[in-house]
């Protein structure tokens, strides 16, 4: 609906250096603005900081008093320890769960992107009967709760005896991620200049060639954005893993973490280290590729 808006390339995360110093325009409120933002940021950070601090404290300390008490004497190094990490990684299986999560996530991110890219190309640059109808089906499926798939798929998978294997989760995530992948990639491809694709066709390039040597390279921002989306979603997923993979030697970090919460109950120190390990990789990926992610999000949704 906002597609009429000029495609100004704003970076919503800021860093727009051409901006006039706004502080001058709002002198009266500028202090209030800064204080409010600072407070909100603290509010957003405190929970995570608490977890991080706790994960480096000893078992007794975590259970005896609040993590904020360390700030009374933060330089007293005897209170810091890596014991929780040690025990969670090696005794509680977080280390192998971490590996499993990688094994689940990487194929479940790469494979759907490729299939969706082909489809998005056809939806954008080819004309064929049923195109609009099929695409509307995809748009509609975007909102279908994926729980609808569980009972039938579980039975289908057990017929072929792949429940509890990585293959089952790869397939499930590929299917569940597909509508969003097609939607994001098509939205992006529709914003590419059609003339280039048309002139390639005039020069005798086949669709296959145009796809690989023109459209894919030009779509890198959208491909990257979707890759991050799918990566976060698969890595952080609990429900699909719970149902198709379950506990055991193939369990992923979210399941191990849930078990730490449920079974141990009182082992707070293990919980903190476990949660932090589960967050390390997505946070790293997220911050490294944040720019692409934001661009992809806003290209798909704001500019229409």
């Amino acid at each position: 609906m906002t597609q009429a808006a000029p495609t100004v390339d704003v970076d919503p995360m800021g860093g727009d250096d051409q901006k006039p110093p706004p502080a001058q325009r709002f002198t009266l409120g500028s202090v209030a603005v800064r204080v409010t933002v600072l407070l909100l940021c603290l509010l957003w950070l405190i929970p995570t900081i608490g977890l991080l601090v706790s994960s480096f404290r000893s078992e007794e300390d975590v259970k005896e008093d609040g993590w904020w008490t360390v700030f009374a004497s933060p330089l007293e190094f005897s209170q810091w320890t890596l014991d929780s990490y040690d025990s969670v990684i090696f005794d509680q299986g977080m280390g192998s769960a971490f590996l499993n999560s990688i094994v689940v996530t990487v194929p479940a991110t790469i494979i759907p992107i490729m299939i969706a890219a082909f489809a998005a190309y056809a939806f954008t640059f080819m004309r064929f009967p049923g195109r609009d109808l099929l695409f509307i089906l995809v748009v509609g499926l975007l909102v279908v709760p994926l729980q609808v798939a569980f009972v039938p798929l579980l039975r289908l998978f057990s017929q072929y005896e792949i429940n509890g294997t990585f293959l089952a989760v790869w397939l499930a995530h590929t299917g569940f991620g597909m509508p969003l992948a097609i939607y994001i990639l098509r939205n992006y491809m529709a914003s590419l200049p059609v003339e280039i694709i048309e002139s390639a066709a005039v020069d005798g390039a086949s669709h296959f060639r145009t796809f690989w040597s023109l459209v894919v390279p030009m779509s890198v921002p959208a491909l990257a954005a979707y890759a991050i989306f799918q990566f976060l979603w698969v890595w952080n997923d609990l429900l699909v893993a719970l149902i198709f993979l379950g506990a055991g030697e193939n369990e992923v970090v979210t399941i191990t973490l849930r078990d730490l919460i449920g079974d141990l109950g009182q082992e707070w120190h293990l919980l903190t280290a476990g949660a932090f390990i589960s967050m390390v990789l997505p946070l790293a990926v997220f911050f490294a590729l944040q720019r692409y992610f934001v661009r992809g999000l806003t290209a798909g949704s704001v500019k229409g």
Partner: protein, 327 residues
């Protein structure tokens, strides 16, 4: 080691296999006489995607509807029994009400908080703006289970005499001289529901902020200048000039969070297990399916969810059509 090898193999086989499939099909199609080639080629490109969507979403959705009219092992037809049983289940009705509360509160709150930060941070120096926004955006990368762990250190309460509080909220309330409160058991006025919603808002506000910020920055400067020359103050400019222009984005954010909230499961499952009147529909689905092994009842729960999503679906499709008309 075997696992990593396995994954590498899956990538090679999956990606390679798909590539080979596309390539071979493409070659075959190119052999066809001209007119047929043009006709069939699009289906080569979309074929695998449509097949996957059909197998993993459409087919199961149809099956689920069918299962919802059968007994727990789908052996016998039971008509509407699963649905009436759900309706008679007090727990399910309570979950419906809770879901409604989530839907009313979380999307709206996410939009409000996201908009507040987007507008305020816009007035900071670029470097600070970037830092502030990254801080708010960060929880987006945290799983619901991880977030639930984090928030245990906010909501935990100790009751024994002489025990120090290790939950921040309880430490604050007892520090102020109040008695310790079991926050997540506080079901009067749905206080515990709201406390769980806070976690979701904490996770989603960053997403809302990014989209809304892009929209706010996209508002043309000359319309703002014109309003300023006409003597409007900042608040008037915000509500009369900015808000109307970013309204489509507000709706997009609202719908996206709404869809997410309808399926909310992990937070409740991990934090309270649905006890103390905090249950939601998606959690009941998991209970029916895994704990009770009642596929009929579980299917009926999903069908209820699906029906609830239909208006959003219609809205999405219409929005898409309008977008296309404007291209």
């Amino acid at each position: 080691m075997i696992k990593i090898l396995n994954a590498a193999l899956a990538i090679v086989a999956g990606v390679g296999g798909m590539l080979a499939l596309f390539w071979i099909l493409n070659l075959l199609v190119e052999r066809l006489p001209g007119r047929w080639e043009e006709r069939i080629k699009p289906y080569v490109f979309i074929g695998p995607a449509i097949a996957i969507v059909g197998l993993f979403l459409v087919y199961p959705a149809v099956q689920t509807v069918i299962f919802s009219f059968a007994d727990k092992n789908s052996q016998k037809w039971v008509g509407f029994e699963n649905y009436t049983a759900l309706w008679d289940d007090e727990n399910f009705r309570a979950a419906l009400v809770n879901n409604l509360l989530w839907i009313l509160v979380v999307p709206a709150a996410s939009v409000l908080v996201g908009l507040l930060i987007a507008v305020l941070a816009d007035r900071l120096r670029p470097g600070n703006e970037k830092i502030a926004k990254s801080v708010i955006f960060m929880p987006m990368a945290i799983s619901f289970v991880g977030a639930s762990t984090i928030w245990r250190f906010i909501y935990d309460t100790r009751f024994a005499e002489g025990d120090e509080q290790i939950g921040l909220l309880s430490a604050i309330t007892t520090g102020l001289g109040f008695d310790p409160v079991a926050w997540l058991r506080l079901d009067s006025w749905n206080v515990n529901d709201f406390l769980l919603m806070v976690i979701m808002i904490w996770l989603q506000a960053g997403f809302a902020m990014v989209l809304l910020s892009a929209a706010v920055k996209g508002v043309p400067d000359d319309t703002l200048e014109a309003a300023r020359i006409d003597g409007a103050n900042e608040l008037q400019i915000f509500f009369r000039v900015v808000v109307p222009q970013i309204w489509p984005t507000v709706i997009v954010v609202f719908t996206t969070v709404l869809i997410l909230v309808m399926k909310v499961f992990d937070i409740v499952y991990v934090m309270t297990g649905g006890n103390a009147d905090t249950d939601v529909v998606a959690n009941i689905f998991v209970e029916e399916m895994i704990e009770f092994g009642d596929d009929g009842r579980a299917a009926a729960v999903v069908v209820v969810l699906m029906i609830a999503v239909i208006p959003v679906m219609i809205y999405q499709v219409r929005r898409f059509r309008m977008q296309e008309a404007g291209r």
